[in-house]
């Protein structure tokens, strides 16, 4: 029997947050291109147009495709003994950590996340390579998750290495 997907999806508002992120990134690249337009003295503008068209095409594909793809992939589940996440889109990753090895539980809200009422929960273990991150949770859900995990982690003894 195969490992199934984690039970819960993140908030649907995460799609909008990721879209805004993608658009902001694309605008940054667009600004660089605008600068190039004004700095370049050559009379021939073909290259500018080609690069600009490419930029528009790829940015649009990314901003439309990535958030939906990512939303389908991003899942999480916490049980009394373990936390299980699935992240990524092009490259995908599943992580499982037993609660007995959890060291810290962080709740983080960037400016965009605040705008959409979302939060990121990061669960670290004693391994530098082992942090689990759940992006795009609704704040209430995130708070509840942090409380559950924290009380479970505190109950464990030892230094979790």
């Amino acid at each position: 029997m195969q490992l199934r997907e984690p039970a819960h999806l993140v908030s649907p508002r995460a799609i909008r947050m990721w879209t805004v992120e993608a658009v902001l990134g694309a605008l940054f690249l667009g600004a660089a291109q605008l600068g190039w337009w004004f700095l370049d003295d050559a009379p021939d503008r073909t290259l500018h147009v080609v690069v600009g068209a490419l930029w528009l095409l790829l940015s649009a594909a990314y901003a439309i495709g990535m958030p939906r793809w990512r939303y389908r992939v991003h899942r999480w589940e916490a049980t009394p003994h373990a936390i299980y996440t699935q992240t990524g889109w092009f490259n995908q990753e599943r992580r499982i950590a037993p609660l007995s090895r959890v060291q810290t539980v962080d709740l983080e809200r960037g400016p965009l996340a605040q705008l959409f009422g979302l939060a990121t929960v990061t669960v670290t273990t004693a391994s530098a390579a082992g942090a689990l991150e759940i992006v795009g949770l609704e704040v209430g859900v995130a708070r509840e998750l942090v409380d559950t995990l924290t009380s479970a982690a505190v109950a464990e003894k030892g230094d979790a290495t």
Binding site: M1, Q2, L3, R4, P6, E77, T79, H81, A82, Y84, F90, N91, Q92, E93, R94, R95, I96, A97, P98, R101, T125, A126, S127, A128, A129, G130, L132, D159, A160, T161
Partner: protein
């Protein structure tokens, strides 16, 4: 010594660094201040007035060095160790004794001349949190290490009786009676001079040789005029023909590699005391002693890089929490490059699991093989195509194309060897992961040391139907990967290694 052994635990009085550091600290601060002092002198050279007030800087710097000794104090109270230093910017660091992971004793030449050793106590899981005592007397350092690592009621007389690293190689015969009394210190490995033959086959050795050669040639280039040294040596090389030059270079590089090996591994000795802690000692000029608490060891890493493998050698590192840096910063060596049988014997003795060290590993299947070959052959093949187009369309020389052809063959060989290296094995207590070709490693990781799992699939891996299973741990490289398993096999492994974890998610 000054304090009787019985009082060591539970003491509260402050202790200072060794008095002999009064000789060293002023020199250290002088060295640190040297650029500033020189600048001052140079600036004052043209000055007319005869009072050389800048000379006042010297006693100030020396006094500063002496103050370092005066202001540095440490003490052990109950269950923690505390270090205080600094005059204006006072610092105090405290660490719990049960968090101490490793205790290193390092003695550079000036330390050794005075019978001192720098004690580094690491307490964090990533090895960032370190208490450094620079320096204590060698006996004092050993006693402190014994106290921290073994947490003995009294000082271990066997440990204190060991000769300092400055002394001759340890004679096990002499203190044998004492050693036996406290339950024996078991010697697991001692360097044999014939192992020097492995030095030229390691990248570390060759890298050191290259660095030395580069440094020397740069130095010569700077001091010789108009590069006539290069001209004359080039002419000389031409007269010799290419074969002797290549042979000469090989000999030179080998000698330098052997030199590097001697410098870092001379007198290498690995032992285990009655509490199970591992102790290593090594180094020709700078001698280094490392004690690794056995409860921190999560496994070993058997290094078999290509050159060493062809020469029939291996090397061994500990996978332990709390060693400096991701790769251990050199304090994790359990064996220098040495014959395979010797190293595997040591690994088996450390872990008590000979199957995990020497057993045949399971391969990862045809999809993994295809991926290894594709990934190794594609870049050189792309290069060849590019060069062919360049030769056909542009006027790139044909010999570029011809020269690049062997790379494709080399890539294929590399991919094949990488697949051959790939394998895993599960024993009662350990998970074994082997991978790599040029830098092949067989990692034996304690199953109890795994603190989480990752299943990773890139887009290409999903299309090829393979998955990389990663075990994360607080020790060593923090994560160990099983590359390109079939999903079924990955699932099977997870089920076997962490049943209580995965059954709730099926």
């Amino acid at each position: 010594m000054s304090d009787p052994p019985g009082e060591v635990v539970g003491e509260t009085e402050w202790r200072r660094l060794d008095k002999r550091m009064l000789l060293i600290h002023p020199f250290q601060s002088l060295l640190q201040a040297l650029p500033a002092i020189l600048a001052l002198f140079v600036a004052r050279i043209g000055a007319d007035d005869s009072d050389r007030w800048e000379l006042l800087a010297l006693p100030v710097v020396v006094a500063f060095g002496l103050l370092r000794w005066v202001t540095t104090r440490y003490r052990i109270t109950g269950d923690q160790i505390e270090l205080r230093h600094g005059l204006l910017h006072k610092q105090s660091r405290t660490a719990r004794l049960d968090k101490v992971r490793t205790v290193d004793l390092t003695a550079q030449l000036h330390h050794r001349a005075l019978g001192l050793a720098k004690v580094e106590i690491s307490t964090g899981s990533a090895g960032k949190d370190r208490l450094v005592l620079d320096s204590l007397g060698i006996d004092e350092g050993r006693r402190l290490r014994a106290q921290l690592l073994d947490r003995l009621r009294t000082v271990d007389p066997a440990l204190a009786a060991l000769p300092p690293p400055t002394g001759p190689a340890l004679d096990v015969g002499a203190p044998a009676s004492e050693v036996d009394e406290v339950g024996a210190e078991e010697e697991l490995l001692r360097l044999h001079p014939s192992w020097l033959r492995f030095a030229p086959f390691t990248m570390t050795g060759i890298g050191t040789a290259a660095a030395v050669l580069g440094f020397v040639s740069q130095g010569i280039g700077r001091f010789s005029e108009q590069g006539d040294y290069y001209e004359s040596s080039a002419r000389w090389l031409e007269e010799q023909g290419w074969l002797p030059s290549v042979v000469g270079l090989l000999v030179l590089v080998s000698l330098l590699a052997v030199g590097a090996y001697i410098l870092s591994f001379w007198g290498f000795r690995l032992s285990r005391n009655h509490t199970g802690s591992l102790h290593t000692r090594r180094g020709l000029l700078t001698s280094r002693e490392v004690g690794i608490d056995h409860t921190r060891v999560r496994g070993v890493e058997l290094g078999e890089p290509l050159g060493l493998r062809l020469a029939g050698g291996r090397r061994l590192k500990a996978v332990s929490t709390g060693l400096q840096g991701e790769a251990g910063g050199g304090s994790d060596w359990l064996s220098p490059p040495a014959p395979a049988s010797v190293v595997e014997g040591v690994a088996a003795a450390v872990l008590g699991d000979p199957v995990a060290v020497g057993g045949t590993v399971t391969d990862h299947g045809p999809a993994a093989r295809r991926r290894r070959l594709t990934r190794a052959v594609t870049p050189p093949a792309a290069l060849v195509v590019a060069l062919a187009v360049g030769w056909d369309v542009g006027d790139w020389p044909l010999w570029w194309l011809v020269g690049a052809l062997p790379l494709v063959g080399g890539g294929w060989l590399l991919g094949r060897d990488r697949y051959r290296g790939l394998g895993h094995l599960v024993t009662g207590r350990h998970l074994v992961a082997r991978s790599g070709s040029l830098d092949r490693r067989r990692v034996v990781l304690a199953r109890s040391g795994v603190i989480g799992w990752k299943l990773r699939q890139s887009w290409f891996q999903r299309r090829a139907g393979v998955v990389t299973l990663t075990a994360t741990t607080a020790a060593g490289r923090q994560h160990y990967d099983l590359l390109d398993l079939t999903p079924e096999r990955a699932d099977e492994l997870l089920r076997e290694l962490a049943p209580e974890l995965v059954t709730q998610f099926t």
